[in-house]
Subunit: 345 residues, 2 copies
DNA sequence: TTGAAAGCGATACCAG
DNA sequence: CTGGTATCGCTTTCAA
C-alpha cells in the first residue's frame, strides 16, 4: 500500500505539498500539482483515513441506529440518510438494534470507538445520562423519541398525532362512526400519539369511546391479524379499522378476507406508513404516508449542521423538527353501510 | 476525550501496561490490572480505533455492497452479515449501489479509504481488473456473480438452477404443462440460470418451448404485473406462471385478480425468494426460498476466513460455495384444470 | 510556494 | 512483569 511519502518521492516534492494537493489547497504551483496527481495515479494511491482521522479527530462517518431493518420502513429511512451523508462526503454505519436496549447501547459504544462524528438514534432507548455522555463525544440527533427531552437536543419527529387525525377524518367523511383502532406497543411516543389522536378524535366528534374497539398490537402483521379477528367476532362490529401501521393493516385485511368479507364494501381498512407493500396488496391500502426517506435525509442534515456548530464552538440550542404526513387514498376505504350510519344518534 | 496516556497516569502505570490490560494479555499483575480497569471506568475511557487501526493496519470493519436496499431480499442478507460480523468484533458499512456500476465503484473506493479489512460485493458489476486491485488491498468475497471468475476468488452463489428446477417440478406434479416464465433482467447470472433451468426443464420433460410463454421483467412488481397481463391475454393462456422473484409474482397475482380470475383455481403462481410479503399477500405465495440471512452470514464467515489466511500469509485457493434453496408450499399453487392436461399429447 | 518536523493515540518491541 | 520508545500515515504549523 503506497503512502503519501511514496507519492512525494515519486513526484519529487515534499510530503506537505502532497497533502496540500490532496486537500485542494490553492497554495500549490500548477507544475507540482500535476506532478503529484500523476504520481497518485501511477501508484494508485489511496489515502489512509485512519491516519487522517487520528490527526483531524474526525472520521467523516456517522452512525445510524434503527430498531428493525426487517420493517420496510427503516431501509427507506436508511437510504435517505445514506444519500444525504454521501453527498457531504460522509459514510454511515447502519446499526440494527432489534428494539433491544442492550444491543443499542453496545452499538453506541462501537460507534464511539470508531470515532464517528455523529450518531442518529431512531427510537432511542438509552437513558438521558447516556445521551449526555454521547453528546460529549460527538454529535447526536434523536428521531422519534419517547417522552420529552431537554430543548438542547436535536430532535426530529413525524406528526403522528396530526397524521392519525387526518386519517380518522377521512374515515369519518366516508360515513364511518364505528371505527376500531389497532395500536402499536405503547412504549413508544409515536404509538401513544396515534392512540391519543384516536381518543381525541372521538371526543371532538362526540363519538362514544368503546374500549373494546381499541386493540393493542405490536407492529408486526400477525398482531394486526389477531386483533382484527377479535374485532370481527364482535356482534356490533366496526365498519372501519384504523391500524397504527401498514403491516398490521395488511394482517387485518388478511383476517377479513379469511372471513369472506369484502374490503371496502363490508369493512374499510386504513394503515399508517405507506410502505411499498401498501400499494401492492389487494385491495391496495389507503394509508397515512410517513416521509421515510425525507426523515433519514433530514436527520443527517440536522446532524451535519450540529457538527458545524460544534466545530465552530457555538452552542446553538437544539432544533426540533416535526415532519408532516399525507393521506394516500387507495382502495381499502369506502363508504360505510347506511345501517351503521345512525349508530351514534 | 481521555487517552491511554491519561489512563496510565491515573492508574500510576505505564502506557504499555495499559495497552496490555486492554488487549487482555496475561502478562500483567492482578494489582496493576485492577488499577487500570478502575482508571478506565473512572475516566470513561474509550479506545481510539483510528489510532489502533493506523498501527495494526486493520480497522475491524467490513464493507457490504448491495444492489438495492428497497428490495426486501437485501435487508435480510444485510442482517445476516451484520450479525456474523458483530459476533467476530467487526462492524459493517452497508453500501447501497442502486444497481449502478459507477456508484458501486465509488463505494469501493470509499471503503478502501476507510481501510476496511474486507469487502463483500453482492451482484458485483466491477471489472476483473478492479476486483484484482481490491484484492491487493483487502479481502474480497463475491456473492451472486455474473459469469465465470478465476478459481482463486471466494464466491458464494445460491443454487438458482436447482431451485428453479424444483419449483417447476412442483408445478409439473400439479399437472401444469403450460407454464409461463417471467424472467428478471438477463444481465445477471442468477437470472440467466433460472431461465436456463426453465428451458432445460421443458426439454427434459419433452414439453414444447413456446417463446411467447417467456417474458422478461426487471425484478420489480410492476414488470410482473405487465408481463402477466400480456400472458393472460393470450388465447391459449398458461395454467401456471413461474416468476423469477416474489415481487414479480405478486405483481402477476395483482394482474390476475384484476381480471377476476381465481388463484390457484384458474391459474397457479409461483415466486422466488420467499420475502416476508410472500406469506402476507393473499393467496399466500408458493415460492422457492432463498437462504437470505444465511447468505449474508456465510459471506462474512468466508471473508473472515480469508482474512485469516491473508494474515498468515497463506494463499489458500478460493472457496466456492453454493447455498441450497427450499420450496415453500403455500396457497398460490393448485392442480391444473383437466382441460389443459392433454395439451401436450 | 515549499520543505522539515512535531504530533494525533495506540501497539509492540526490547531492555531492565 | 513493567516501562520507555519507535512507529503507523497523515495534517499542520513554521521557517526558509
Amino acid at each position: 500500500m503506497p503512502t503519501m511519502k511514496d507519492v512525494a518521492r515519486e513526484a519529487g516534492v515534499s510530503l506537505g505539498t502532497v497533502s496540500n494537493v490532496l486537500n485542494g489547497l490553492p497554495t500549490v504551483s500548477n507544475e507540482n500539482r500535476e506532478k503529484v496527481e500523476e504520481a497518485v495515479r501511477k501508484l494508485k494511491f489511496i489515502p489512509n483515513t485512519a491516519a487522517r482521522s487520528l490527526k483531524t479527530n474526525s472520521s467523516k462517518s456517522l452512525g445510524l441506529s434503527i430498531p428493525n431493518i426487517g420493517n420496510p420502513f427503516y431501509p427507506e429511512l436508511a437510504r435517505g440518510a445514506e444519500d444525504a451523508a454521501q453527498k457531504a462526503g460522509y459514510s454511515v454505519f447502519l446499526c440494527n438494534n432489534d428494539r433491544n436496549a442492550e444491543k443499542e447501547k453496545n452499538y453506541v459504544r462501537v460507534l464511539l470507538e470508531k470515532n464517528v462524528d455523529g450518531i442518529i438514534l431512531v427510537k432511542p432507548q438509552v437513558s438521558m445520562e447516556e445521551m449526555d455522555e454521547i453528546r460529549e463525544k460527538c454529535g447526536l440527533v434523536l428521531v422519534d423519541i419517547d417522552g420529552e427531552v431537554h430543548e438542547s437536543y436535536d430532535v426530529i419527529n413525524v406528526d403522528d398525532f396530526g397524521g392519525t387525525m387526518k386519517g380518522l377524518e377521512l374515515l369519518y367523511e366516508y360515513g364511518h362512526i364505528r371505527i376500531a383502532f389497532i395500536s402499536g406497543s405503547l412504549e413508544s411516543r409515536s404509538s401513544r400519539s396515534r392512540l391519543e389522536a384516536y381518543i381525541r378524535f372521538r371526543e371532538e366528534k362526540s363519538l362514544p369511546v368503546d374500549d373494546r374497539f381499541i386493540k393493542r398490537g405490536s407492529y408486526d402483521w400477525y398482531s394486526g391479524y389477531t386483533c382484527a379477528t377479535e374485532l370481527l367476532r364482535m356482534v356490533n362490529r366496526p365498519t372501519a379499522i384504523f391500524a397504527s401501521n401498514d403491516l398490521m393493516a395488511i394482517g387485518a385485511m388478511k383476517a377479513i378476507r379469511e372471513r369472506r368479507m369484502d374490503i371496502p364494501h363490508d369493512i374499510s381498512v386504513m394503515g399508517y406508513d405507506d410502505i411499498d407493500m401498501a400499494a401492492l396488496c389487494s385491495p391496495q391500502l389507503t394509508t397515512v404516508r410517513q416521509p421515510k426517506y425525507e426523515l433519514g435525509q433530514a436527520s443527517v442534515e440536522m446532524l451535519l449542521k450540529r457538527l458545524c456548530f460544534r466545530k465552530a464552538g457555538v452552542n446553538e440550542k437544539g432544533e426540533h423538527l416535526v415532519l408532516p404526513t399525507d393521506i394516500i387514498f387507495r382502495e381499502s376505504v369506502g363508504y360505510a353501510e347506511r345501517e351503521n350510519g345512525g349508530e351514534n344518534s
